[in-house]
Assembly symmetry: C2
Homo-oligomer: 373 residues x 2
Amino acid sequence: MDRRKFVSTLGLGVAGTALAGCAQSDCAGPSADAGSADANKTYHWKMVTTWPKNYPGLGTGPEKFAKMVNTMSAGRITIKVYGAKELVPAMEVFDAVSQGSAELGHGAAYYWKGKHPATPFFTAVPFGFTAQEMNSWLSYGGGQQLWDELYEGFNLKPFACGNTGTQLPGWYNREINSVSDLAGLKIRMPGLAGEVLKRLGATPVQLPGGEVFTALESGAIDAADWVGPYNDLTFGFYKVAKYYYHPGWHEPGPTLELIMNNEVWNALPEDLQAIVRAAAAWANDDMLSEYTARNNAALIDLQEKHGVQLRRLPDDVLKALKKESDIVLDELTRDNPFARRVFDSYQTFRAGVSSYSNVAEAEYLAVRAALAE
Amino acid sequence: MDRRKFVSTLGLGVAGTALAGCAQSDCAGPSADAGSADANKTYHWKMVTTWPKNYPGLGTGPEKFAKMVNTMSAGRITIKVYGAKELVPAMEVFDAVSQGSAELGHGAAYYWKGKHPATPFFTAVPFGFTAQEMNSWLSYGGGQQLWDELYEGFNLKPFACGNTGTQLPGWYNREINSVSDLAGLKIRMPGLAGEVLKRLGATPVQLPGGEVFTALESGAIDAADWVGPYNDLTFGFYKVAKYYYHPGWHEPGPTLELIMNNEVWNALPEDLQAIVRAAAAWANDDMLSEYTARNNAALIDLQEKHGVQLRRLPDDVLKALKKESDIVLDELTRDNPFARRVFDSYQTFRAGVSSYSNVAEAEYLAVRAALAE
């Protein structure tokens, strides 16, 4: 399906309403001086998110972004952050910001695969980019331009605004020693990675994070992916599943997104646009730094206090996962020219960045690990 | 030597002069309204750097930072960036900002090892942090607090403001097959890594980047480290040295620093402090993204167009380098309680972050590389 046709089918591009609401008496209205640099104009925005209010990392990230924007703008912008369901359900964040019932949103692009098949590339795809590579593709590999182009059709302006780093593919109550061990397993694994597992005989199950523990405990599911040690520890999965698997083939460096209603964005003066942009970049790194520090502390807790057993997926399983991942990505983008353009850009950059990483970051980390033993 | 004694010996903490110069007629002077939020006050700053003006990556980074601050502050802050020697020589940047002849500086903390032995930990040490790990240590591992404490004694406020990613340890005109092959080699390698090479029988040579090509060509040196493919390609080292070695044991993720005169910093209103902080974070990631993208493109050029031969340092050489690196860091910090505190913090965080990286980023990258073959 052609992207333009797809977009116009949805009837997007309509003018937002109730945007950039202003409670100040000296404020003439949201679009009265759009684009001008009236230093006294104030903006009071709503930010809807796909996370529980203040959920560690994912949910505290947008709160920090909001505070940073408020401080940098000397109070000219205030942002009230809403957790999922407080204003709209998690899966309606995209539409709410697109249509203008909220000025801002925070979530992950791959939640909107039903809107357009190219969206997963802007969060994470199986065997895709690490956080550092994703940031580089966005800024210097053409990724941000593609993302802008895609979201413009939905009346949105996107920014990278958080990253969990390499996740772990989850908790299993039995060992995986070969591909056949996946057959028949019910695994909480969303998105494209779930589709990959399905092709290897497993049954992917979609469940909100808050329901995963009970489902594992009751045996309704046999395995579950969530995020990584920091978030997984607080959910207590170690109490109901024995084995914690690595490496994170499914989400090697997922980017969280800030989305802004495009009319609100376009009406901002240049200084406030730059403030939003820099605050997103600051929050993008801040979240990755937080996960990097806290995942390691949590992993030590899981192993030393809770007796969690780490297990590496066997090579033949990883090989099968890679093979099916390539097929899934090909099928995802085959019939959509824009999605194929994104996939081509992604693949080209991945091949190049890997050639340097393999003698730089990747090899250095391997050597350091070997010498620490 | 005790840090406080060390600092007071230098007579630091004196009031800066000629700071926060203001050309506007409505400006009462640099400290007249220190800390207040006078929205009309303007700031015209000088930024001295240790790089040639607009040197790709290292030198363009501070230019972008300056522009971002100017845009975010709607012109209230203007920063004029000076290349090395334009205002002061590279190695006088630290003193110039400390004493207030410039408000800002950009360089690398390990250039100031003569000021204090703890400084290298805030750039890079052999077998230390990658960029992602360094950012995490600074923000969530206590690193920034230690850096602030160290630099406060020099009347400076430091920020991470750029990273080259994992560098390559350089160009050799002969192969290194064992530790004994290093004996007698004259190697352009600065800092602690040079000291490590010295203990393995090599002679470290200090040379500015611009003199490295001629020294290699004439045989005055046998090998040279510079940065990585992107910068090394432009210097043409491939014309005079055949082998390009990896991995980057010497500088796995060097952080570039923004330094600000502490009185200028303390006199800023909260919004402008936040703007400087976020612009530094933005520039910190932007430079890493640029190097990540351009190193890979340059490496392909070097191999495909210029016939460069990549060589991996043998395991026994890496093992010897690691052993000597541990000794060099121990000796560096042994007699200075503050430097030892920094080293302890660094080591503790490195051990923890490695335990997660080894099942996350590091293992993922290794698996992806293996499956791409």
